[in-house]
Subunit: 387 residues, 2 copies
């Protein structure tokens, strides 16, 4: 186990009708708030009205910026920065899923920077501080509601890049599973895949003696897997929606990475795909993760056997250890398929035409991953395995 | 799953040589520090000198109060309050285990109160605020390093009482597993029992649909059980000491109680025993918990079967479900015995003479427990089962 520092101070307010508390939580941080959201779904559902009413009751002045798209764009971030600077905004409230929260984080960091926000994502500048952020979560998936990271896409070249800083962790996150009832099943499945991927990125490590975090990862994975079909078949099943929502947060709040170094290659390899093709991040991960596993499992067969056995209940075949490892990967693929995810690029209508370009862009700053270091040719091979 | 709020902002600094950072972490909160500790062990080990040097380097003025005993006494708390008030102390650094931390918390809360500190423990006054606290942990057991609770014993009548408040959560906790190498095996085993009990108190709930937290509890229990014999047989095994230390914190940082109401009767029943007899809290729990389980398991046999199956790997006998439930309790008893814990009161030389008195004191404010509500006669029966 490695030395580590762990601190996650985000206040989680979880359960039915908790969105009614948003004004009260927000006013502790400021009176001029940027309300940031995506498309029209929060207006259709009535959540927008609920939030505005709760903020207004506390005497909060509201500035608005909607229109965040999946794979949130730097152009909208720049608009948000301008609004914040011109109006001395002191708090950003993100109402939505990971894209809205990530967009809010990028705005919040750039308010304290004189240059262009994309500098952070190119490593030309470092985040030093942030406007405080709050979240009302509507899509359990990205885990951004308690994480200190953001992923933004630059339309100029379709680069998708991540930046992290402790100050980006939201001050509070309101999680009401009822708000996720109206999520279409495809989006629900994408979210489930994303949270599974967040755990797997941490699980596949070279660090030895990490039994507790291994088991916590497995516990969270099993819970997500056990509740996945229920939330898709019964979208208004509160118990299952609640398990998935809380699991999605824990998948990415950094507890599961304590003492270990995760991999993260699959996320980077997928980012190149969804950067160019605008496929949902979760769907991209359902395609890339199994391919990555097939490419690297021989690096530590035992870890893949543990995964097969403890997460997928596959008996260990002592006479054929590789077979057990591969059976775990197979079962994961079958699971992704069963919840409606594509597991090949061709299922997502993605051809080979950009393999080299994506691999080049993904590895142009450094090789990807930690479990196994991947160079451009490795990434091309993984895309080929995912065909 | 119930609605919940979860926030645990304690900064965990985990790993080798992390105690060298104590000055740097402390100075962020104040320059006049009460250094609070127990007996001479931190002086013998050299930890005292390390801490004093690190604080002094930051220009911190140190006031000292040693002498905290297991089952920390309100009389010493009162001394601490006087020192803090007379010297305008602005931070308390607890160097030790749960008793030292609990004593520090009680002092920290009482500094902001004009009456006597015991009023908090009798429900005559409420904690409203606290001096900030930091911890260098030497005994992984109580989980007090990130909890918002404290347990203090009043020598006047030997009452042992708990109080909790969010402001009591330490600002930082330094956890170096190496500092636990010198713990005698009996104390190590007491700590292991205490952390197991903290999880079990949360595990035995009437709340349905708590799969994620059930599994997280089971993951943490399995890790503790798997590493227990190693730390006792090889006290300088870093990997095992690290698993136990981190598990002890997670057992009691409130993550495992999210969305559920725990029981806590066994803790209360044990507190009466260790209040009178001054037996180690962990040893008392090894005696009381199995007795409590035998008394209440019929209330929800399925939960005890899940415990037997998932934690102790006992196959479910579908033709005799009660047998499976009881086998889990039996295996837990055997485990406690195997690490050197007493599992009956007679092994700890405790007779029947105070059963009625302890049961009366324990239940005089309200019935104990939530899984099953226990009145005075129930508690007497549990003491009898523990004979």
């Amino acid at each position: 186990m490695q030395n580590f520092i762990f601190q996650n101070a985000t206040k989680i307010i979880f359960g039915k009708e908790t969105e009614l508390q948003v004004g009260q939580e927000t006013v502790a941080f400021g009176k001029k708030v940027l309300l940031h959201y995506g498309g029209g779904s929060i207006k259709e559902s009535g959540l927008y009205d609920t939030v505005v009413e709760s903020l207004t009751k506390q005497g909060i002045e509201i500035f608005e910026l909607g229109g965040v798209k999946p794979n949130p764009r730097v152009s909208l971030v720049r608009e948000g920065v301008t609004i914040c600077k011109e109006n001395q905004i002191d708090f950003i409230l993100a109402v939505g899923g990971g894209s809205v929260i990530d967009s809010a984080k990028a705005i919040a960091a750039a308010v304290y920077y004189d240059g262009d926000v994309w500098d952070f994502f190119e490593g030309k500048a470092n985040v030093t501080d942030c406007l405080p952020i709050g979240v009302v979560l509507t899509i359990p998936a990205a885990g951004s509601e308690t994480s200190g990271g953001t992923v933004i896409t630059n339309e100029d070249g379709w680069y998708k890049r991540a930046v992290g800083h402790e100050s980006m962790r939201p001050k509070f996150a309101i999680l009401n599973p009822v708000l996720t009832y109206t999520l279409p099943s495809y989006q629900t499945a994408c979210g489930i895949t994303d949270m599974i991927a967040h755990i797997l990125e941490r699980y596949f490590t070279n660090e030895k003696n990490v039994e507790l975090t291994d088991r916590l990862c497995e516990a969270t994975l099993k819970t997500i897997i056990n509740n996945a079909h229920t939330v898709i078949e019964e979208p208004t099943n509160y118990a299952a929606r609640a398990e998935i929502m809380w699991a999605g947060t824990l998948a990415h709040n950094d507890l599961l990475s304590t003492g270990r170094i995760g991999d993260w290659a699959s996320h980077d390899i997928e980012h190149e795909v969804s950067g160019i093709y605008d496929i949902a991040h979760g769907a991209g991960l359902a395609i890339i993760f199994p391919a990555w596993m097939k490419y690297v499992y021989k690096h530590d067969v035992n870890r893949f056997i543990q995964f097969a056995n403890r997460v997928w209940d596959i008996e260990i075949d002592l006479n054929n250890l590789e077979k057990t490892a591969l059976a775990g990967i197979k079962k994961m693929e079958q699971f992704f398929s069963s919840i409606g995810m594509p597991i090949t690029l061709s299922e997502a209508n993605i051809g080979e035409e950009h393999f080299e370009e994506m691999a080049k862009k993904g590895t142009e700053r450094w090789p990807l991953g930690n479990f196994v270091k991947l160079h451009q040719s490795d990434v091309v091979n993984i895309y080929k395995l995912a065909k």
